[in-house]
Chain length 106, copies 2
């Protein structure tokens, strides 16, 4: 059953372009991964003090996602996280949520 | 730019099957709607006191989603919401969040 791995990010006021640039300029190797189907970076509502973003990765199964989190590609892609100069556009830590697909219509 | 309309639901302990049945037994007319691409009901983490679910509807654009919320189909599909007998499996109100796609890889 397909699985969606989401992270929710709170972005500081005035820093949404910086945050998007990090994603746009990254070297993505998702397409090489077993079970990868689709990635989306989503811009959500602006609330008091921040703008909500969410990253969605659709996998064939939870097992494919978990295999990726134990892979060298995962370690490589997270190696530079949090090592940029200056204040991060992200407030606090991203909030991870994993979801199993119960129903699907397309 | 594609748009995802999400609702987050907190489901009472022991009531997840009831909640899923409501969705599985409903008569969906989403495929008739202009700009509709994809629907998913997603089961997320179980935390203190509830299980999180999320419904995702992918639209061609925010405008297509907004047109649907003003349509007769929308009124019909929400007519019976909250009118079932007994205690609802849903705690409180669903939390709506709308998201614009910033990046997409598939």
């Amino acid at each position: 059953m397909s699985y969606i791995a989401m992270n929710r990010f709170k972005i500081r006021p005035g820093r949404t372009a910086d945050f998007e640039d990090i994603w746009k300029s990254r070297e993505s190797k998702l397409k090489e991964l077993k079970g990868f189907r689709e990635f989306r970076l989503l811009k959500g509502p602006e609330t008091e003090g921040h703008t909500l973003y969410s990253s969605h990765v659709l996998w064939d199964s939870r097992e494919d996602f978990e295999a990726w989190t134990k892979s060298q590609q995962f370690r490589d892609s997270h190696r530079n996280a949090g090592k940029r100069e200056g204040e991060s556009p992200i407030m606090g830590h991203p909030q991870f949520e994993g979801f199993e697909t119960v129903l699907h219509e397309a």
